[in-house]
Symmetry: C2
Subunit: 361 residues, 2 copies
DNA sequence: CCCATGTATGAAAGCGCTTTAACTTCCTCT
DNA sequence: AGAGGAAGTTAAAGCGCTTTCATACATGGG
């Protein structure tokens, strides 16, 4: 090589023109050999590839995207990356994207619509072809107009919009919805508790307006009804999600009443908080109170006791979002896909205490 | 607007030329008003901004990057996004990047060097200016040459390389190392056990060659020595990381011997597995065996019992990586930064059983 | 033997943007 | 009053690449 002992820190990138020159061909031929967009005789191709390797040529993705009018890039937007559930979804998206040679960027909003909008805007600038918004929301007017805006904006940039676990405000909107069947999942896990003999079951961690949670609450109520309980038997605590919320709400609930023998948590993190609150109150799980969660995060089996919960294959959700959106683009837009879930039985459920409960009515 | 009722799905993006025309200025002026790279009178600026808004103009990041010769983008590469520790680091990087208006892309390698190389290559093409490789490795010849290659390649693309929790094979290599002081952390947590009276402590989850784990093992041995124990008192189980590994190794260890009263786990996930194995063996923590972890993942306090562990502020590690690399680029390259850690005391440590241990010698 | 066909290659246009260099006003200073 | 600037603006160059269009040369059927 000619620059053996010369300045190594040369900042200028090698361009395709230099590769072409070294290979003794035109830029056009070099481009074709390198990108494979057009057949090139094996001998020529080899010469070009050789030159590229010698020069440590690195294609400029921007130039490519600029002329190519886009690029293979997907974006996944979550509340926070450190939430186990979101992390799994993101991993699924990343994996499925990587499988097709796509780049995947993840954005964290911290639940702030402002940052969500900024990120979507950024993705438009970056030319992402797939934007996946993950996580339940409260479906208010602001949300509806936000999503309508995204859908229109992304569509006009030629990008596809996927909503995971959140609703499309309008069936005409060109967004694909992929989510778990929350109602069925909650119905099943509540049924599990009912089958064990529980009759006083509280739902901890509702978030009125949040469609995902609302569906779970609906499933919970449906299960109660199926087992012949009156609507009044339902007890729903609107404390929202997260370990801290579960801890606080459960602590308060226990102070207020003990007329229940089981709790259905809005998700596993709420269950984690509830478990701690119950232990702090000197009660045992499942001896005194049975607890079930939702999502089956990786550490759910390390809770105390191991948590019976609903497994929502989060990584599969991420993969499905990409797969469906890319499979049949035209047909997919505007459709809704429901993914199934199933119960994972561990140690946090037992029949209610035989003495009739903590504080018999 | 003129295209009120017309075809909405127009795929062509609005360009700066159209904005300029509508605002009645040249492209140059429009560009300056939009990007703010050059002062423009307020009145003109307002006119351009107005036009851009009316047209729903979205800048093309590729064109920008192409002419600008790069872009504000950082990449963070981890083994898997779903590991709580890596997720936190990634979140830190994302947050710090977002604070400066940088884009952050995350890549998952699954621990495969091949994929790591592909990803680094991809980042070169994408023009990332900062590549952060996270996570301990075994420092073999392959690793050394890989990193040397990255460093050289990225440097020649004008990008900075940061190694988090893994070594720079050669002090001359233009890579910045940012990591926790593993030795000190392990020494402290082992000291905690020793102070509680334990003398037979096993280290579970070593991974010979992995520099991060090796440092922890070294810290563990150092603590033992400090308390006057002979080198032979050390017992290190090389089972690697992860919950499954911890579960399996602990199960086997318990079958083989019970001549220990405490275990230092390689990380919290190993601790999780160990906890389960001990419970499965009918033993109590901390009554029979004390257990400590490493990293203080968010759910460590929900373990059974809540885990005493070493807090390694993972998000701060991510933030620090970005901050240091960007703060003083020239000076930073080639330097090494150690972040401090501290013990978080919970419920998984007690004095050793007074009956002299499980199986007194 | 010549034209249609196919294959290999190259010159040049142009993707959307930023920036340089040049030009025009309009002041201000001497 | 005219030189010297400052301020505002623009035309045009060019970032690195892909692709169209054109060209050049073989090949083979009529």
């Amino acid at each position: 090589m000619e620059n053996d002992m010369t300045d190594t820190g040369s900042r200028r990138r090698v361009t395709i023109r230099e590769v072409a020159e070294r290979a003794g061909v035109s830029m056009a031929t070099a481009s074709r050999a390198l990108s494979g967009n057009h057949p090139v005789p094996a001998a020529t191709r080899a010469r070009v590839l050789r030159a590229a390797r010698d020069l440590d040529y690195v294609a400029n993705a921007h130039a490519r995207a600029l002329v190519g009018g886009g690029r293979k890039m997907a974006a996944v937007v979550v509340r926070q990356v450190t939430s186990p559930f979101y992390a799994q979804v993101a991993e699924g998206v990343e994996a499925e994207a990587a499988d097709r040679g796509w780049l995947c960027v993840v954005g964290a909003t911290g639940g702030d619509p402002q940052r969500e909008m900024e990120f979507v805007q950024l993705m438009r600038e970056e030319g992402a072809r797939l934007v996946i918004l993950v996580g339940g929301v409260v479906e208010d007017e602001a949300y509806r107009s936000r999503v309508a805006h995204y859908a229109q904006a992304l569509d006009s940039s030629g990008a596809r919009l996927v909503l995971c676990g959140r609703p499309a405000p309008d069936p005409d909107i060109p967004a694909l919805v992929v989510e778990f069947d929350n109602e069925a999942g909650a119905r099943a896990i509540t049924g599990h508790l009912l089958s064990a003999g529980h009759r006083r079951i509280v739902f901890l961690g509702a978030l009125p307006g949040n469609t995902a949670l609302d569906a779970r609450v609906a499933g919970y109520r449906a299960a109660l009804a199926e087992h012949g309980l009156p609507p009044a038997a339902a007890r729903v605590v609107d404390c929202g999600l997260g370990r801290a919320a579960g801890l606080r709400a459960m602590t308060e609930l226990l102070k207020e009443t003990r007329e229940f023998t089981a709790v259905v948590a809005g998700d596993d993190m709420v269950a984690a908080g509830a478990l701690r609150a119950i232990a702090d109150a000197g009660l045992g799980v499942p001896a005194d109170i049975s607890v079930v969660g939702y999502n089956d995060i990786p550490l759910a089996e390390d809770f105390n006791p191991p948590l019976t919960t609903v497994r929502t294959p989060a990584e599969e959700l991420g993969r499905a979002a990409v797969r469906i959106a890319l499979r049949d683009p035209e047909h997919a837009a505007g459709s809704r896909h429901l993914l199934g879930t199933h119960i994972v039985v561990r140690k946090s459920v037992a029949p209610p205490p035989t003495d009739g409960g903590l504080t018999p009515v």
